[in-house]
């Protein structure tokens, strides 16, 4: 496994060392994955269904802790801190997550949805601070102009693509170190997908993004680096252009050319 990077090699924001996740003893959904993720990049995780992409992503914000039978081992460090030793609630504030289905909270207004992270964590803000966070977060997902006059409407009032951008804004409002996205466009139409892809290219100036995707052309369009996973193992990790034009591993090549997957 070769790592070819032309971006800030010095300080990875996220380091995975021998990370394994098992749903039942003896079988591994993610098997000893080691990888470095650099700041202000977009990393795409690809692979066939069931290869452990989402499982790996969910390990990074400790979502597996919700299910006691899932065991995560190895070391994941975010900004130099081993998150497996930290309080999961603290980890989740540092690693924002966006899910496949847009899921704004149905009883909250658009305004409250953006601030949900603060409300749920019991962080009190002054009205000025709230308004600033809401405007900034919605601006950064390009939703501000569309919703600034309907702030009090429920989140479900928006279209699917707008809802997903609202969810991204909700994650960004907490100013996370990394933004984890689990197939964020697979439930959206092509135009909304395009919108989100453009948005991600903007957002990487400020954030580090890891995106699980089924869509290889999406990975090719937006990611700097790609990880190809197969049967729980990280087969190849490196510069996206490099991987798509000259894959180092035979299985990567087969997957990318459609032999399987």
């Amino acid at each position: 496994m070769e790592s070819i990077n032309n971006i800030n090699e010095e300080n990875p924001v996220l380091q995975l060392k021998e990370v394994s996740v098992s749903y039942s003893p003896g079988s591994f959904a993610v098997n000893r994955v080691t990888a470095d993720i650099y700041p202000n990049t977009i990393t795409a995780i690809m692979g066939p269904s069931g290869c452990g992409k989402s499982t790996l992503l969910r390990a990074i914000n400790r979502m597996h802790d919700l299910y006691p039978h899932i065991k995560t081992t190895g070391e994941i460090s975010l900004k130099g801190k081993n998150i497996l030793a930290m309080d999961p609630m603290e980890v989740r504030r540092m690693a924002g997550m966006v899910f496949q289905q847009p899921n704004p909270f149905p009883t909250m207004s658009i305004y409250d949805n953006v601030l949900a992270g603060y409300k749920l964590n019991g962080i009190r803000l002054k009205k000025r601070e709230k308004e600033e966070i809401v405007e900034q977060s919605l601006q950064s997902v390009g939703l501000w102009n569309e919703v600034k006059d309907v702030m009090t409407k429920r989140g479900s009032f928006l279209s699917g693509g707008q809802q997903q951008r609202l969810c991204i804004a909700r994650a960004l409002a907490l100013n996370p170190e990394v933004l984890l996205m689990d197939e964020p466009t697979s439930a959206l139409d092509p135009i909304s997908t395009n919108r989100i892809e453009e948005l991600l290219l903007q957002l990487k100036k400020k954030f580090t993004i890891i995106i699980v995707t089924h869509n290889m052309s999406q990975a090719a369009r937006i990611s700097d680096n790609s990880m190809f996973m197969y049967l729980g193992e990280l087969v190849e990790h490196g510069n996206t252009t490099q991987m798509f034009t000259k894959p180092q591993n035979k299985r990567t090549e087969e997957y990318l050319t459609g032999v399987f997957g």
Binding site: M63, L66, Q101, N103, T107, L120, N121
Partner: protein, 291 residues
């Protein structure tokens, strides 16, 4: 061949029609008792359904007899029953909503655990428990040790009856919510408690509230458990530890007193109206709060 085919089709169509007519007919038959109950209660109850019913307590048998002999309407109402029902059912709502919500949350989130299976089974059992048995239990638990009949004992009996309904509606509503809401909340770093009380319960409010209203309308007409616990009273009572009347208890009293028998129908009418209203509100809430 083709003739055979037509007769076959004719036979099928005939069968279809017969089935349709039967279904309509049986639906109509099923509606009959309901219709006549409403008709009877309204036609007999409206005479005494006046302001007095809401503002005066039950008259004594003697006063009622005198009024009857003079051809006057019954001198009194069921204020003591109305206030009693409000007191007893109100307390029962407090207890059962508090307990039922927590049990429902536990069951919705811990499927497959042993304790959850046991609790779930007991809830089913409780739902099928005869109300008189629940009355006896409340008598043994509250009336006996505290040495007297009371509104509190009545509300404990009704709480036990409401509990399984509220547990089930909470559990089912929470199970129906997409897991994505819970995960989205937790992914923002929220505690489990905050996710439950600030996201899940508000999102499922329609279903949970409907369940509570239906449970209330169910126990509002319960008589047997109250006979053994609240007992009844001829005066308005707001004291938790005193015997208290309730509308269904009064209906039973009126049935046993030939002089007061006319009040049966207006009391029943009131009870029906309240229950009808609760069901109607439940429907509206369920529709409005659909997530």
């Amino acid at each position: 061949m083709s003739r055979n085919k037509t007769t076959y089709m004719g036979w099928r169509k005939g069968k279809d029609k017969t089935a349709f007519v039967l279904v309509c007919l049986f639906s109509l038959i099923a509606m009959f008792p309901l219709f006549f109950i409403l008709w009877d209660v309204v036609s007999k109850g409206y005479k005494n359904f006046n302001l007095r019913l809401f503002t005066e307590v039950t008259p004594s048998s003697m006063d009622a007899m005198l009024a009857r002999m003079n051809g006057e309407s019954i001198p009194g109402g069921i204020l003591n029953g109305i206030t009693g029902t409000i007191l007893i059912v109100g307390m029962a709502i407090l207890f059962s909503v508090f307990l039922g919500l927590f049990i429902g949350i536990y069951l919705a989130d811990n499927r497959g655990k042993k304790l959850a299976a046991v609790v779930s089974y007991l809830t089913d059992l409780l739902q099928g428990m005869p109300s008189i048995v629940i009355g006896i239990i409340a008598y043994a638990w509250i009336v006996k040790p505290l040495g007297g009949y009371s509104a509190l004992a009545g509300s404990v009996a009704l709480t036990i009856m409401m509990l399984p309904m509220i547990v089930r509606s909470t559990e089912e509503t929470l199970k129906m919510l997409p897991p994505a809401y819970k995960e989205a909340g937790l992914a923002l770093g929220s505690s489990y408690t905050n996710v439950v009380f600030r996201i899940l319960i508000p999102s499922g409010f329609g279903g949970i509230f409907t369940g509570i209203l239906l449970a209330v309308s169910r126990v509002m007409g319960e008589t047997a458990p109250l006979m053994l616990t609240a007992l009844g009273a001829a005066v308005v009572n707001w004291k938790v530890m005193q015997p208290t009347s309730a509308i269904p208890l009064l209906i039973w009293d009126f049935y046993n007193d030939p002089n007061l028998v006319d009040l049966i129908w207006s009391s029943s009418l009131l009870l029906l109206i309240v229950i009808f209203l609760l069901n109607w509100i439940a429907k509206i809430v369920a529709r409005k709060w659909k997530v």
